[in-house]
């Protein structure tokens, strides 16, 4: 019997509001070979909001470093869903978000879709 590929979507931010920069909590992804972020904007928090997303990597879930890619910039208003893919990582992933220009908190759902 051929094994199906393992898959798991983790909701790392469940409609939480942010009025400044934030990082998602450490998440273990060593079993997966690809990790796709989805960020859904539920409330734009003001017309001029910009969010820069950077995937961060860690050997231990404690000390973090930006991955080798350029940040993904999202300017709101924008399509309500942003997505970007990571393929080379170790065991730990988190998302670092830098928020600027917001007049009030930005409400987001952050999904991490992992596939073996």
């Amino acid at each position: 019997m051929n094994a199906m590929r393992r898959f798991f979507t983790a909701v790392l931010e469940q409609g939480n509001s942010f009025d400044g920069d934030f990082q998602t909590d450490p998440y273990e992804t060593g079993w997966a070979s690809e990790a796709r972020w989805f960020v859904r904007v539920l409330d734009n928090g003001g017309r001029a909001t910009r969010i820069a997303f950077q995937t961060e990597l860690s050997p231990d879930g404690i000390v973090w470093v930006a991955d080798e890619t350029a940040p993904v910039e999202l300017t709101i208003p924008a399509p309500p869903l942003a997505t970007f893919l990571r393929k080379d990582f170790g065991n730990w992933l988190r998302l670092n978000a830098k928020i600027s220009g917001n007049e009030r908190p930005v409400k987001l759902v952050v999904y991490l879709a992992l596939k073996e």
Binding site: E28, D60, V63
Partner: protein, 316 residues
């Protein structure tokens, strides 16, 4: 013609012998019918983040039933020695709180039942507080080469269920909590059972209950010690050594009671401990049988509970 010798084995002895010959099952002691065997090297096996109820608007999740964190397939990887791994293979299921006072992470596996009776939940588990570099030592017992301050930074973990007999029957949650340390960091290392119902979304929305401080109970003090339930577990000195413990919990959906809890060499008789029932009905929870695990931090340090593996069985 030679007569075939009649076997001396009974059917149940044969089943037991076959299970004992399976290395994965041999470390468990299931009842007659196995409902599931979950080894987390094969995936999350239906253990999902618990969520409260809502009307498709996440703003309407009640405070204690949101952000309970997705479970993780963990390789138990640490800063000092790298990957610890699970009992067999690489992965275990991990629940992780946020680094936030009283934050709880809960995972759930959802079933229904065919028949009322005994249900047994077995698992191997280990637990730790997260490694924190440059830990403040004020007010804590200092590291002495044996005791590590992180031992007092792990709050508690809880086993619970959710049983619904239907709109004309009862609904209740059994909950058993291991309190490792209190809010002052004093080691408690004892098992507790709860004495009030778990406030639900409906209870909060209709004004029957306030938003609780503790997910499981109406008031945070609604817990009583399990008789003879003091049990230091194996912390093993530092936050990056993980020793697996055996746990076997039996509850009885006929009697609506816990039956017993075994953790390593301690077996606690729970048959006479009351389990609070809701005094109002719930629609749509026919023959509901959910299994839940959670971990709760009492400080601003992440707490982790790992499980590998889980076997649930019933007596029907």
């Amino acid at each position: 013609m030679t007569a075939i010798a009649k076997s001396d084995l009974t059917a149940s002895q044969l089943v037991r012998a076959m299970r004992a010959s399976d290395p994965a099952l041999s470390r468990f002691n299931p009842l007659d019918r196995i409902l599931f065997v979950n080894d987390f090297d094969t995936g999350s096996n239906g253990w999902a983040e618990l969520s409260g109820n809502h009307d498709n608007n996440l703003d309407n999740l009640r405070a204690r039933a949101r952000d309970l964190r997705p479970p993780q397939l963990s390789s138990l990887t640490f800063f000092d020695t790298g990957t610890h791994g699970s009992i067999d293979g690489t992965y275990a299921l991990k629940l992780a709180t946020r680094a936030k006072l009283n934050h709880m992470s809960q995972a759930i596996k959802r079933f229904t039942y065919v028949k009322r009776g005994l249900v047994q939940f077995e698992m191997y588990f280990t637990f730790k507080a997260e490694t924190v570099f440059n830990q403040p030592e004020a007010g804590e017992r200092a590291w002495d080469g044996n005791f590590h301050p992180s031992a007092a930074q792990f709050g508690s973990f809880t086993l619970s269920n959710d049983v619904g007999e239907g709109e004309k029957g009862e609904r209740y949650h059994c909950a058993l909590r291991y309190v490792n340390a209190d809010h002052t960091g004093k080691l408690v290392q004892s098992w507790f059972y709860k004495t009030s119902v778990q406030p639900t979304t409906m209870m909060e929305r209709t004004g029957m209950a306030k938003s609780p401080d503790d997910y499981h109970v109406c008031h945070p003090d609604d817990w009583k010690p399990v008789p003879n339930g003091h049990q230091p577990l194996c912390y093993n000195e530092i936050p990056t050594k993980s020793n697996w413990h055996y746990l076997r919990w039996v509850f009885d959906t006929e009697r609506r009671r816990n039956t017993e809890l075994q953790v390593n060499d301690l077996t606690m008789d729970l048959r006479d401990l009351p389990v609070p029932l809701y005094d109002h009905p719930y629609w749509g929870c026919e023959r509901l049988l959910n299994f839940c695990l959670d971990v709760r931090t009492h400080s601003e340090v992440r707490n982790f509970l790992w499980v590998d593996s889980v076997v649930a069985s019933v007596d029907w």
